[in-house]
Amino acid sequence: MTLKKPDLSVALGPLKLKNPVLTASGTFGYGQEFLDIIDPNILGGIVVKGLSLKPRAGNPPPRIIETPCGMLNSIGLANIGLDAFLQEKLPWLRDLNTNVIVNIYGHSINEYGALASSLKGIKEIAALEVNISCPNVEKGGMAFGTDPDASARVTEEVLKNSDKPVIVKLSPNVTDIRVIAKAVENAGAHAISLINTLTGMAIDIKTRAPKLANVSGGLSGPAIKPVALYLVYQVVRAVNIPVIGGGGIMDYQDALEFLLAGASAIQVGTAIFVNPGAISDIIEGLSTYCKTEGIFEIKTIIGDLKE
């Protein structure tokens, strides 16, 4: 007889996850980098580094600056591009026993569509996460994500060219995120994820120059958790599709806050840099929490906020 364990599985629309813990795009590479320490197969899913049609070198260094309880990055979506991804990374990702979600980014609406259609038919790719919220690129990125119409058009284009569940990743740098959330919902998105980073900067008082070569960057880490949680709370109440929450999650308690706010799954990003063990700690922590609290299925606490 096997002992009954708490059921951590959750659903993101058509997508089934063995647990609600995903890695956030750009913080876990392709799952290979931390292999000595983290078995990607324990995850509910892995969201790979943002992918573009052509390889991108990214922004000039310095690209990373520590800030109080967080960090700024201006990586600029450096990535190997579609072809190398398919040849070098996909074979490895295929063999994983977890949901592989590909985060895509385009300069134009067409590029988003082209990426989606290139990934069509690859059944080991569980879903697409559409990044319309990167603050570190000149064209595209956040420019789409701050405008409801453009957000909707990108979503539609990806859907048209894809055979997979489409998750749209929103930017926190907007006046009313519910407007954007509703626009992508109406455009047909299967799920929404948030938040991408907040735009910020830092100045070196010795050189009197911006610390990042790119001047501004994206703020992530525990510093932004309260902002992320509130945006997730708002979006959950504005749409009827599942929401993936994240931003500053460091431990299982943080993860629970997002689940209680209504997120169906969560993403862990910057925490991995500081503590790679955070991934397994969070999954175990959620399991122990469920056991202790007598919660048989974690999905029952999603959105169970007492107001």
């Binding site: 000595d36 070198a57 690209r63 309880c69 460091m250 910057t270 840099f273 790679p276």
Partner: protein
């Protein structure tokens, strides 16, 4: 690569603002090579937030040693930790030095704290084939390496303020040395401030001598996942324009890098 809890066995001042840290790191030591580094988490709170990279300066059985200089918030906290306390250490990370063949001679050129990775390298080289040049600002900054597994190694010292050894830049010693015969079997290994490294690269280039340098860069993950530690490559050498210090380095052949791009950066 392992992330392990490491107990502090020693954390003592060895020169001006400079400390020797010894960790019980039985898992990390087993595969560590000269030039590799570790990422240390300084606190279980969130400020300071990121781990800090430090070169491995030596290994003695299950003990891993680091030489560090207090320059900011993180290293200040590190210096306040006591023997018996534990810190989380991730390593060994990166690609180290290509250790010279027994028939080669090695010239190590250190600038200030740049001596840290070179100490470990020197431990792997026959003292007879080793010439260890080290520049410091002043006598009070000089790090005595003899206790660090290098009892037979004499540092060839230079100090900027002429307070010890030869006065002036350590690169002058290097240049003098390379004018002597027998330089063809030499490899130069260097670590230190950017200005010094540029000088070393210029000199070795002039004499057509192989040169391996250890570089620094702001890091978040230390393992190649975040792409934060990018530096410009010599495009002739590699078509992708950036290399990553944590994964492709921190040790690079000097010709792999685009030295013209490294002006603005502080070191």
């Amino acid at each position: 690569m392992i992330d392990q809890k490491t107990e502090i066995i020693i954390n003592k001042k060895i020169a001006e603002a400079t400390y020797l840290l010894g960790l019980n790191a039985h898992k990390i030591v087993s595969t560590a090579k000269p030039g590799q580094f570790v990422m240390i988490r300084l606190t279980s709170e969130n400020d300071p937030f990121l781990r800090r990279p430090f070169s491995i300066s030596g290994i003695l059985e299950d003990r891993l040693f680091i030489i560090y200089r207090v320059i900011g918030q993180g290293t200040r906290i590190l210096s306040s930790l006591q023997k018996g306390e534990s810190i989380q250490t991730l390593g060994p990370l990166g690609k180290g030095f290509t250790i010279p063949r027994p028939d080669q001679k090695a010239v190590l050129v250190a600038g200030g704290l740049g001596i840290a990775p070179l100490v470990f390298l020197a431990q792997k080289i026959d003292p007879d084939r080793l010439n260890f040049l080290a520049g410091f600002r002043s006598a009070k900054d000089v790090i005595d390496v003899r206790g660090l597994g290098l009892k037979d190694v004499e540092l060839n010292l230079a100090t900027d303020d002429h307070s010890l050894g030869q006065g002036g830049a350590v690169t002058n010693i290097l240049e003098d040395l390379l004018f002597k015969p027998g330089r063809s079997e030499l490899t130069v290994f260097s670590c230190g401030p950017l200005l010094m490294l540029k000088q070393v690269v210029k000199i070795t280039k002039k004499f057509r001598i192989e040169c391996q340098v250890s570089l620094e860069s702001n890091m978040a993950c230390g393992v190649g996942a975040c792409q934060g530690c990018a530096i410009e490559s010599a495009s002739s050498y590699d078509t992708s324009s950036y290399l990553h210090v944590c994964k492709d380095g921190p040790v690079f052949k000097s010709e792999a890098l685009d030295w013209n791009k490294y002006d603005l950066k502080k070191t």
